[in-house]
């Protein structure tokens, strides 16, 4: 699996920093944002493949961020993370196009696999849109 860019969106700084470090060790490009507005600004500015998004944050709610991301680029995949287990929120998130919904605490491998699978979904989506293999292949 080639390198790709992940954006971590979470209001907990500790969580963001540790996760970023661990994902970078696994050769991912990692950006991070403390909230929805900051995340959207980053997405508009730089190329992001996959977003790991906390469901509940002060300010812009996770679901709103998800909808904003999907409105901006439906092929950016979003993995939702939550400290508040709720089936309803999970179903709602996935119905709005979230790639998956993971419960915190999440194992680093489990998250990494999920991000890789999400990136694969994005590549397939890009390919489908361009109706042929991407130049990188």
């Amino acid at each position: 699996m080639s390198e790709f860019t992940v954006l971590l969106v979470d209001d907990e700084e500790d969580f963001r920093r540790t996760l970023a470090k661990r994902l970078e060790k696994r050769n991912l490009q990692v950006l991070s944002a403390a909230g929805g507005e900051e995340a959207m600004a980053l997405i508009r500015r730089s190329a992001v493949d996959v977003v790991a998004l906390d469901v509940r944050m002060p300010g812009m709610d996770g679901i709103d961020v998800l909808r904003a991301i999907k409105a901006h680029d439906p092929l950016i995949e979003v993995v939702m993370l939550t400290g508040h287990a709720s089936v309803e929120a999970a179903v709602e998130g996935m119905d709005f196009g979230a790639f998956d919904y993971l419960m915190k605490p999440v194992g680093i491998d489990e998250l990494l696999y999920k991000l890789q699978d999400a990136y694969e979904a994005r590549r397939i989506g890009l390919k489908r849109n361009s109706r042929g293999p991407t130049p990188s292949e």
Binding site: A85, V87, M94, M103, D109, A121
Partner: protein, 871 residues
Amino acid sequence: MRRIREYLHRRLTRSRPAVPEAAADELRVAFKERYHHFKLLLSANKRALERMAAIEGALRGGEAFGMAFVRSTCTEVATAVWRMIQSMAVLAPGKYPELPTRFKAINAQIKAHLESSFRPLAEAALVVSLGTIDRNWRDQAGGKMAGLGEVHKKTGLTVPDGFVITTAAYSRFLNHSGLQDEINRLIQTADREDTAGLLELSARLQQAVLKAPVPRDIESAVALAWRTLESRHGTAMRIALRSSSLFEDDIASAFAGQFQTELNVSRDHLMDAYRTVVASKYSLHALTYRLNRGIRDEDLAVAVGAMVMVDAVAGGVAYTISPVAADDDRVHIDATWGLPKAIVDGTAAYDSFIVARAPQLHVADQAIGHKTSRLVCYLEEGVCRRDATGDQADLPCLSPDQVLEVARMALEIEAYYGCPQDIEWAIAADGKLNLLQSRPLPVPEGAGDATVTPDIPEGTEVLLEGGVTASPGAVGGTVYPAAKRADALRFPADAILVVRQAAPYWATLIGRAAGVVAEQGGVAGHLANVAREFGVPALFSCPDAMARLAAGDEVTLDADRRRVYAGRLPGLIAQRPPRKVNPLANSPVFKLLQALDRLIVPLHLLDPEASEFHPQNCRTLHDITRFLHEKSVQEMFSFGQAHHFPERSSKQLFYKVPMQWWVLNLDDGFVAEVDGKYVHLDNIASEPMIAFWSGFTAIPWAGPPAIDHRGLASVLFQSTANTALTVGRRSRYAEKNYFMISRHYCNLNSRLGYHFAMLEALVSDRTRENYVTFQFKGGAADIERRLKRVHFIGDLLETYAFRVTIQEDHLTARIANEDRGIMVERLKILGYLALHTRQIDMIMKNKARVEALRAKMRADIDGVLLNATQP
């Protein structure tokens, strides 16, 4: 790039029917996308099954679990199932419209169960006077305070004046500024693998409560109540704050003082003390207790009782019957100088009085302790320990009249409630006896006769003798002395805990301890209470226990006869086994998970061939996963076959000669694209298929008839069924033996007549996603031989760490989460068994031959197979 396109073009145009290149590109993407969704579906399927197994494991017992587990696990299963439904919608758009409906119906029930927790009355008063309440106020004032109010009203016994900050106030406090939300988040996200993790969680939760603001309306209601109390007791008044929660005084789960009690509190620190008492709901001790007893956090509303402080001359605990021995109805009183807290904490020497009820109330026995210190109130605030003066240490702290007065008070409450009681009391400076709290006392079960001479081998060394039985029973175990609190972090399960003081914080370990020995403390302490509740034998007040019992010693603790022996004495333990307690059974959390289990785990859709195998018949989430898995495999197969796209049509396997096995490449299962009819083995890139095949071909089959090349079904099963009958009823999928493969995936599905075999494997470097599932059913022999063969194979697979379940003659074997090396070996074993269990049903009635066969197979597998290099 151009060269590749030309190459593809050449190959495509050579095949029939020709596919235009643009269309071929599109098809390739379509295949890739489908395979991707298939993989996601499989991965979600695995996740759902594993979380279901976790639910079943939790209900079988062993580890304690709490609401965070219940909520996350159910959410994970449901999320995974929804993920599968979404993937299926890509594989077969609009084909199963009933599935989301079924899912949502089941999910609504799950949600209803999860949300049916206790809600305190929102409109109720925030503070009430102790004088107004009785047992009808339980929901608002908590069990302890409602009980005190009731006793005071109905019996006229002296209870300190005071007020209660209600459960409604508690609820306001927690919902104010999102505190409850933050608490829930901390609990779910905590890593609680061990005691250290729990300790950190406990600290964070208590911090969250301690720094949370108390709403203004609660503060002013409390201030008003304080002023009212002050007008009756003067400005020097101090109070004691005690928790009074719902649940607390239930006979099934005596919370027994695990909350913080704040003594001698002044007006200035009232709200801090309130927060401290509420925060102690999350002390390590309280957290573990609730976890072990299956009590939901949200069900536990904490009211806090504020009572005028009694600066006690002497105080203690009284039990109206013996808490440890059946048939002993004498009143047991433990008492000391100063505040009674020292008795509850099990940290000081004390006097023990036993009061017989007949012929008239009299002191039948007493033991006067050497009481070197006492707990007293500071003038301003708080409490401190004072050394005994003069000969006070060895004097009884109660006169004989006072002993009888305490006993009478206890018995009056027992008579009022009609059941044995456990009371805490204090004698004030003016000599007046005050009741501080009262709760029902569980009646000890009658068992074991201490007069029968135990079966103890001669020469068995007695390491320790004496003390008091704090909790009955005999048990064997390894000694673990804990000198300081940090030692609790390394406490090994099923050891015998040996401590100096029988202090409440050791209660954290009771759920995991086999027994407890303490140098101090008595039957009335909190630790003793918890030990009895959990059925853990405990012997307290054994001076020198720490010196006489060394770490790692194997010992037998006989709490009934107050002895500790060297070594394990099975005879003794069998004679007086500790009362087995599953503290979780029948608890609210346990019952909730049972109810959820019924909506999630049972499987009703068993036979994919049956007409009942339909989305409408999915009654549980497991049914939905089973249905989706089956259909997704079929969808993958039929899509490949329906498109006349040579790259993705099935190829016949060529191994020395053309075999009766077909291979469908789902994605990257071939080394190079295959043009034409056959795929050669060396062009297979699928790791699991190669592993299976190498096991299949590693050791030639010895018995007649010699191996033919008629395919797996005929190798696995000698069919007597007329296969012609099945033609037309089934798709082509069912007639031949197909491998569906990608680099890391292999699905082998074989149905013939009444037989059925399925192998599915996902093997890659993602260890956590690896699995092999093998199922088979049927055979040509009679049912008895068939069953014997299924069990024979099941046993063999179990020795190689497969998890095997057998229902009738249907065997399922599964192994998961092992690294790829181990998975490859397991696939080789399955390949070997596929060949070598052929026809063995014929010998299944001959025990000697079965054993010989088992030995040969074990030797083949352990010797040649697992050491062999790949063919």
